[in-house]
């Protein structure tokens, strides 16, 4: 977890980014695990505008020049005069690049004296974005621990105890460190992070082993450890660290409370940013990563159950497992048809895991929920709103927007906070696609008349009867906003409890959605009935799902 009082770039020690503001145009690249998203940004009039954007399979972009040329060709074809003004007319001339790189899956073996310590350490490592395998001296035998820790995909060893060691740890610390030193002897290139009382035993490791000691004598040890682990995992221009910085900046620029939900193939990120108490004060951001919430990750039957519970595809369990395994193998393929439905189900399951893993960020609904990462772009924007409503059952009213061009991560790598804020401020209207306003009310009884909605936009009010257990959709295009009056027959929870609410609704690709389904959502036990219910909701917000 990262908890920062300023929007400065955290941990990743990113080298200075180019300063695109002094140029006519620049290009961005967000290198994800599945796809690479590229944009062309140019100065039009007195502000930066998004001119072109696309995404292609990540393995096809060893060198990004061909991808940039594709976009620049489109800019030249669409507006030759603008291309000439921005000095983009000459083929082969690529403007400065701002790039964010999706973090590679990093795997740490966590060794602890006791099960309690192992669980705590694994939680810290996971929140810092590490995939973990845990072993404790209490449960796993030294042979198995050595085998786990010497696998080729393991890139760090975390060895920890309390400081001072608890009574049940004291006898085991020596043996634990000796075992870890044995692993380090076999894998000399493996960095070892010693936590708690184990930190004092760095001298027991072979010469040449990189040992990082994290004693916990005072302060908030979890945050210290998480920051160190996050810094070790995140490379230069790490996309998730950059997203955290960009979200903090956006909260400042827009003066809104923002929640970011990013889901990708290598993990997921949840961050909450709040603007400073006074104008000009830095925003405050808290973020938690969840590697276990990677899209389509099915490491056990329980994970498969979670996806199956949301699947609207008529697949048996074995076939669903194969489809998900294939999704992990080639996440850029099979995007249409069944592939989109599969991703929607996997995305719901991933989002549920992310929210559960980052429960410490639960709180009142923010003003804006920002959806980021390639997984959200693999389904249409209105369907993304439904996925959000399905998986995050939080009463309240929020605006929802999508980072569809995946500009936020590259812009978040810009070191200079002032420059980053200026760019994001000018590009926010282009970068974020408004999906709409989502209102989730708890307490409306299913199947009953629940109340009435009046949405006033300009001089034309829209009236709608509300029914419990259902979704109510109001067409409200992007760029429009109005006041929505919600009158309920009985008190409901809409973030606060009451019968009558007046909320501001902003338009988007899905318009305004009033969700009167149960909180938490209860779905039929039988698979076919559950599929029918889910499909009926999808049909409302995703009419093109089968076309």
């Amino acid at each position: 977890m990262t908890d920062a009082a300023t929007p400065a770039r955290t941990a990743g020690s990113t080298p200075a980014r180019p300063a695109p503001a002094r140029r006519d145009a620049f290009v961005t690249l967000d290198r994800g695990s599945a796809t690479c998203a590229a944009t062309v940004v140019g100065r039009v009039g007195r502000r930066w505008r998004l001119l072109a954007a696309t995404a292609v399979p990540a393995p096809a972009v060893k060198e990004p020049d061909a991808l940039f040329e594709l976009l620049l060709d489109r800019v030249r074809a669409a507006d030759p005069a603008l291309a000439a003004d921005l000095r983009l007319a000459e083929p082969g001339r690529i403007p400065p690049t701002v790039e964010a790189v999706g973090s590679l899956p990093a795997h740490a073996v966590v060794m602890a004296a006791t099960e309690v310590a192992r669980q705590r350490l694994e939680a810290d490592a996971a929140a810092a974005g590490w995939r973990t395998t845990g072993a404790s001296a209490e449960r796993v035998d030294p042979l198995e621990t050595t085998r786990l820790a010497t696998r080729p995909d393991v890139t760090a060893l975390v060895v920890g105890t309390s400081d001072p060691p608890a009574a049940d740890e004291r006898d085991l610390v020596g043996e634990l460190v000796a075992l870890a030193a044995g692993v380090a002897e076999r894998r000399p290139e493996l960095p070892v992070i010693l936590v708690g009382a184990a930190a004092a035993r760095a001298s027991e490791f072979p010469l040449g082993t990189e040992v990082v000691a994290v004693p916990r004598p005072h302060g908030d040890p979890a945050l210290d450890l998480r920051a160190i682990l996050a810094a070790r995992r995140a490379g230069s221009a790490d996309a998730r660290q950059a997203l955290i910085a960009a979200t903090a900046t956006l909260a400042e620029v827009l003066d809104l409370r923002i929640e970011l939900l990013e889901v990708g193939m290598s993990g997921a990120l949840r961050a909450r940013a709040e603007p400073g108490a006074e104008p000009g004060a830095p925003s405050r951001i808290t973020a938690v990563e969840a590697p276990s919430a990677a899209l389509g990750l099915v490491e056990d039957d329980a994970a498969l159950d979670r996806v199956e519970a949301w699947a609207t595809l008529g697949l048996d369990r074995a076939r669903l497992r194969d489809r998900l395994a294939e999704l992990r193998l080639a996440p850029w393929a099979d995007l249409g048809g069944d592939g989109a439905l599969l991703r929607a189900a996997a995305l719901r399951a991933a989002l549920e895991r992310l929210v559960a893993a980052a429960a410490e960020l639960d709180g009142p609904p923010p003003d804006l929920v920002l959806l980021a990462g390639g997984a959200w772009s693999s389904i249409p924007a209105p369907a993304a709103l439904l996925v959000l409503a399905d998986a995050l059952r939080r009463p309240g009213v929020v605006q929802v927007a999508l980072d569809s061009a995946r500009l936020l991560a590259p812009l978040g790598t810009i070191e200079d906070a002032v420059e980053r804020a200026r760019l994001l401020g000018e590009l926010v209207a282009d970068a974020l696609v408004p999906i709409g306003t989502l209102a989730i009310a708890r307490g409306a009884r299913a199947g009953r008349h629940a109340g009435h909605l009046r949405l006033t936009v300009g001089d034309a009010p829209v009236d709608l009867q509300l029914a419990g257990g259902r979704l109510a959709l109001v067409d409200l295009p992007p760029g429009q906003a109005g006041a929505a009056e919600l009158d309920f027959r009985n008190p409901v929870d809409l973030g606060v409890r009451g019968k009558r609410f007046v909320v501001r609704a902003t338009g988007g690709l899905a318009g305004m959605v009033v969700d009167l389904r149960e909180v938490p959502l209860r779905l039929p036990e039988r698979a076919d009935e559950r599929r029918d219910v889910l499909a009926s909701w999808e049909a409302a917000l995703w009419p093109e799902r089968d076309r």
Binding site: P59, A60, P91, R147, D546
Partner: protein, 324 residues
Amino acid sequence: MSGTPLVIVRPLLVGAPRVRIPLRPGDRILANLGASVVAGDLLAERVRDPRLVETSSGSAASHPGAWIPAEPARRGTAPAGELLFEHGGRRRIATGPHPDLVAAPAAGRVVAIHPGVELVLQLDGTGIPGTELLGDPGYGRLALLPGDGDGRISLEVAHAGAIVVFPGRADAESLTRARAMGIAGAVVPALAERDRRDVVASEARQRAGLHRLAPFPVLILDGYLRRSLAGPVREILAALAGSEVGLVGGPPMLVTALSSGDLPLPDPDHVRVRGGPEAGREGRFAGLAGPRRVTGGIVVETARILLDDGPEAVVALGDLERFA
């Protein structure tokens, strides 16, 4: 601008591959660093059911990973094994009975030895990458079963000792039957997760017996969903039929002594459709077709493909792969 660079490249041939043979604590290394090996040379003895034995620290200094010979103990003889670690005057040694033999899957040189972790070989010749290897590395003469259909039909005892290629359907039953017939290994285009588990479980059951068993590696070239062999891969395997090949797992690949220049390569613009409605078809790349909406409502970058067996098709870039 040519769009071919935006199509995923599937590596078809890897020259002089460096492969790792995984080891576990307790396995005894027989090969020497820098030694040249040929297919079948013994590299290590693999302990089937390793266990931990505690002994008092000997007089000679040692380090984790070192091989500790058997020595007299207070009660009988402490068995030989690999030192896992030493603490408080006691040694923890990984050892076990019934060692299996680990043989070199192809000719090459031992370039690294990490006790209890891996042996690394620099192989001569060429590798054809796959996505996963089930079982331990192995070697044998390559035999290509005919057709794209059910591999069980064409299995016969004449294939004993060979590594057979199932060009079409393969499942756990056919693979288990192949093993029972003395076949040395298999190459399959794809294998469902359930079949993978069954194959691994069957292998584990076989290994639970006391007698030594030859490895039965299964190389999976693609993924989990049923599909036929890609044309360029089929051509290479056909060219290798009858020759000695090895199957290795780190990274998963089929290895041959032939150099890449001796093997057929497809045209640079040859592409295969790996997903979507045209999955399995092959053709020639004819240029980018721009962003198009696909079923489900999302817009993706696409390309025009002149299909070998039909007219031109527009296919999502993500559904295409070319070979190099």
